[in-house]
């Protein structure tokens, strides 16, 4: 009968035997496959997503093209939904931040029907995760959709028909040719094979890609925010605070270092400007405060604001453009109610262009970023805190509360 000690000895010497090494050709074969394999992102609560940062100093056109590359150029049909690498956006990705800005370049031209409302902004992408100097998309899932099929199958982005106005436009990309679909409102259908990217499976829309081509026709729904039967300030004040399942942490996360002393001071100034603590009134308060030229100065050439937190820098310099205003509003709202963050996201797109005879021409200088705040039962409600008469005014009725308590 063998003793325990001997058994250990036998097993150890037997298992340690041999000095074989991995075959280099096997490692090489695996690395070739790695080239074609995307990394898997974590589900909720993950701190790090794969981000391929866009570098500063490129033109808006380059940024648009890079965005197309980063989120993957048109990749055809892979069938089932799959996880993909996130895009990111920084303040350096706006046309006026380029070394040689060409402000009169046309981003795209759109043919609009007569019923298209005036002054509708163009949406390109949304971002949930703030990473100090950039915004990214967490848990990106992509699904291929055939031309003409509904784009928002199970997406949380779907809105009830009764609350939206639907119209169809034909977009001819010019400088903005990075294969990202632009749409007035939320796109629901397009006459091209498309890849829909959502933040988490069945989550909210991050962006839609269409193959590079001269034109595409997109059907979009725009929430009727000016219609008091759809939404009013009072309805939003009473909206439930129970978060829906699609609300991943990215929409509420405030990363360490986002708020320095200047940003904290700014937040307390804003909180002191309103007696209300519900998300809607806080959103209006932040928007109003940032828009006020007495507090902040609009400039496409702000000094500083390189590296560190965009919010802290803007709170210090008090000068910047849409990216600074929108980022600051989105992050301050998340931080306004300790332990009860208000969900926000950043929207990248374009301000309304020049319209003539049913054709709207949108210049690259109209590239814009704004904020959306989530309200249970109403979805994502836009706010535009950019000063200098650039940000669009809200159309929601009962904007101001009736009386202070």
């Amino acid at each position: 009968m063998i003793t325990e000690l001997d058994l250990d000895r036998v097993l150890a010497s037997w298992l340690v035997e041999g000095t074989e090494r991995a075959h280099p050709e096997d490692v090489a074969a695996a690395l070739r496959q790695v080239e074609r394999t995307r990394q898997r992102h974590r589900r909720r609560g993950w701190r790090r997503d794969v981000v391929l940062p866009l570098r500063a100093g490129r033109s808006w056109l380059m940024a648009a093209v890079a965005l197309g590359i980063v989120i993957g150029t048109w990749s055809g049909f892979g069938g089932a939904s799959q996880r993909v690498v996130s895009a990111s956006i920084t303040a350096a990705d706006f046309p006026w931040a380029a070394a040689n800005p060409a402000p009169d370049t046309v981003a795209f031209v759109a043919q609009l029907p007569a019923n298209a409302p005036e002054g509708t902004s163009w949406r390109a992408a949304t971002y949930d995760r703030f990473e100090l100097d950039r915004w990214t998309q967490s848990d990106l899932e992509q699904t291929s959709v055939r031309a003409g099929q509904p784009l928002l199958g199970t997406s949380a982005e779907r809105q009830p028909d009764a609350q939206t106005a639907t119209f169809t436009v034909t977009v001819r990309p010019k400088a903005f040719e990075g294969s990202i679909l632009v749409s007035p409102g939320t796109p629901v259908g397009v006459d091209a094979d498309a890849v829909v990217r959502e933040i988490g499976a069945g989550g909210w829309l991050a962006s839609i890609q269409v193959p590079d081509r001269a034109a595409y026709t997109v059907t979009a729904r725009s929430p009727r925010l000016g219609d008091p039967t759809v939404v009013t300030g009072d309805l939003l004040r009473q909206a439930s605070r129970v978060p829906p399942p699609q609300l991943v942490d990215g929409y509420t996360a405030v990363p360490e270092g986002a708020l320095g002393p200047a940003a904290r001071r700014l937040l307390s100034e804003i909180l002191a400007s309103t007696p209300y603590r519900d998300p809607y009134d806080l959103a209006v308060a932040v928007e109003t405060y940032l828009k006020d030229p007495a507090n902040f100065t609009y400039s496409t050439q702000p000094a500083g604001c390189i590296g560190g937190s965009l919010v802290e820098c803007f709170a210090q310099t008090r000068t910047g453009y849409c990216m600074h205003y929108a980022t600051t509003m989105a992050v301050l709202l998340r931080a306004a109610l300790p332990g009860d963050p208000i969900p926000t996201r950043l929207v990248q797109g374009f301000l309304p262009g020049q319209r003539s005879n049913g054709t709207e021409t949108v210049a690259t200088r109209l590239a814009h970023a704004w904020v959306e705040v989530y309200f249970q039962g109403y979805g994502w409600i836009p706010f535009d805190p950019t000063g200098g008469s650039v940000g669009r005014p809200s159309t929601i009725t009962d904007r101001a509360p009736v009386a202070a308590p």
Partner: protein, 182 residues
């Protein structure tokens, strides 16, 4: 594994991952070969593991745990490969080193006995033996590497050792002393 390298690879840097693969592949292959006892199957498992490690790397919360985590991936790849191929595990063994000191006819016979007993174990049991005797891991390290509780590790180890002991005892002609250095 170097933490900074792992962090780069987690952010999608393929070059960083190529360096990690180069550094880790010998160790991962050695584990796969010892668990599977089949050269070709181990080569397959290594390739599968290297792709899987890349794909799932962002899910590794603490880069310092890369070694334990990658060991788990390769053990799982051994399991998956076996399920997929259903290839019979033949005991060609790892007899590639020079015969050890004191090697004799009887120890070769004992090796065959060990080999036969080992390949009758489940892959889970084989994995705990390899991690304990080849990698020299503690109970808690094995539990971390296999993603199971220490209790599970202990019971697998107990079963595995009992089976190996039975194999050795069955051939009482084999003097264990033969394994001792001359």
């Amino acid at each position: 594994m170097d933490r900074a390298l792992v962090e780069l690879a987690q952010r999608g840097e393929r070059e960083a991952y190529a360096r990690i693969a180069a550094q880790a592949s010998d160790r991962l292959f050695a584990v796969a070969l010892r668990v599977l006892r089949d050269h070709e199957a181990a080569r397959d498992a290594l390739q599968v593991a290297l792709v899987q490690i890349w794909r799932d790397l962002p899910t590794l919360r603490d880069p310092d745990l890369f070694d334990a985590w990658s060991r788990r991936v390769v053990v799982n790849a051994c399991n998956a490969g076996r399920r997929r191929a259903r290839r019979p595990v033949v005991s060609i063994g790892v007899h590639v080193g020079e015969p050890s000191v004191g090697d004799s006819q009887s120890s070769v016979a004992m090796r065959d006995e060990l080999e036969r007993a080992f390949t009758r174990l489940s892959l889970d049991q084989r994995a705990v033996l390899v991690l304990q005797y080849y990698e020299g891991l503690s109970m808690s390290e094995m539990a971390a590497s296999l993603g199971v509780s220490e209790g599970t590790v202990k019971s697998r180890l107990h079963g595995a050792r009992r089976a190996m002991r039975a194999a050795i005892d069955a051939d009482s002609r084999l003097p264990v002393r033969a394994e001792e250095p001359a």
